[in-house]
Symmetry: C3
Subunit: 181 residues, 3 copies
């Protein structure tokens, strides 16, 4: 039988081990979609969570990477496929479209007008707010490589870095909330 001191020491060890496994008050999101409506939802959740004191991490992958392209950065030196993808895919937050009711751009324009009228922040404004609130952004390196996007054509955003899925998973493992958007 262990002495009471030994028992207390053992409890302490177990408690410390549990504490180190407790997730942080963090929200991790994968933004797979490159649609205006889903990107808006992602940033509304992100900025809302920081306002509640949560740490927020967004991982932009696949079509989602297009949301983080800068509208006025042109980079050369792309191969044919890269040039094609670059031209066909939306060039940043001002160009992405609704997932539904886009109607050749008319629906998207209507939604933007509506948001303005209702004083809902636009997607570029939401991104600027996220930057201010120190939302951490990762852009998926593999997706960029696939689509031929270069680092230099992404937006200027303090706290944006380039990473792979392992980096995201480490964050997610240690988060209270995880979402795939």
């Amino acid at each position: 039988m262990a002495t009471i001191e030994e028992q207390v020491a053992e409890l302490k060890t177990q408690l410390d081990a549990m504490q180190s496994k407790t997730p942080s008050n963090k929200l991790s999101m994968i933004v797979f979609s490159g649609d205006l409506d889903k990107a808006l939802a992602a940033f509304i959740i992100a900025t809302g969570a920081t306002a509640m004191g949560m740490e927020v991490v967004m991982f932009f992958t696949f079509w989602g990477t297009t949301v983080m392209r800068a509208k006025n950065k042109n980079v050369g030196g792309k191969d044919m496929m890269g040039t094609m993808f670059g031209a066909m895919l939306p060039k940043g937050a001002e160009k992405v479209k609704l997932s539904q009711m886009n109607m050749g751009g008319m629906g998207t324009a209507m939604m933007k007008a509506l948001m303005k009228k209702k004083n809902v922040a636009s997607l570029p404004e939401m991104i600027a707010l996220a930057e201010e609130l120190e939302v951490k952004i990762y852009v998926c390196e593999m997706s960029m490589d696939l689509m031929g996007f270069k680092r230099e054509e992404m937006v200027d955003y303090e706290g944006l870095s380039f990473a792979g899925v392992a980096t995201f998973l480490e964050e997610a493992q240690n988060s209270k909330v995880q979402l795939f958007i």
Copy 2:
């Protein structure tokens, strides 16, 4: 060196702090999609989880808000945009469509016929079941405002309320499982 009594008291404090941070046996879902198939999946998960003793919270936002519209409530006093959105977007669970293979409504009709034949509950039936099982439903106020939906045109559902993203995040923070659908 602390006495054994002090050490035990300290452990107690730490344990209590950890316990208060342990998430509830709760499932929180954001239902962003207004598609029949995704709404069905959401309610199958919701009712399944309550059957397992979990508490369930659903937050209907963006296109998802259309799922909770009542089929036979007409409200006046909308502006032009609101009237347009109201007319273009599906009026509730009986009107939402498949995300794929809708084929001008034929695919959706086929799927509904198939569900009936296979004794799978329809979406309106699933919603009634969720109400019975006390699944809590929030409808996103900002989305309703954007689309011009009024509170009075939503379904009668005990436990439905109107809320913003912060309310959802508080639930999600305190949930074991979170999903974005």
Copy 3:
């Protein structure tokens, strides 16, 4: 007032209770989508997570079930609806299409060519890797029943079984990370 021995025993009980409620280092995913891009994302996350020592569980439901169909297994004895669905829906990982920019199959073919050029594993290769890494796969029984899919037309995959939503929820409840794809 409890003796110090009683207090320590009580702490031990509470700690054990908390430990039994701590989620495993596990990732649970619902794969609802039957799109090539989303299925790829799901398997990249799944194999990445196992590489980090996580246990991974995937639950294929609705359109997602089509990803797990074998390309060269033909089964008879289907009713008319089952035969129709069987013919209209993609027959496995080699046949699923991009959610966007499919352009009558040209976009999907381009993406596959690009992946090959960039040395990104194809979807069938990712599935084989997941099998090797012992990713557990469930295929949703209710979805299969709806679409008329039979067990014999699913791929050979060690660790694939057929289950309902309750099985998935039990895994999810006990997971650190949950995603709906």
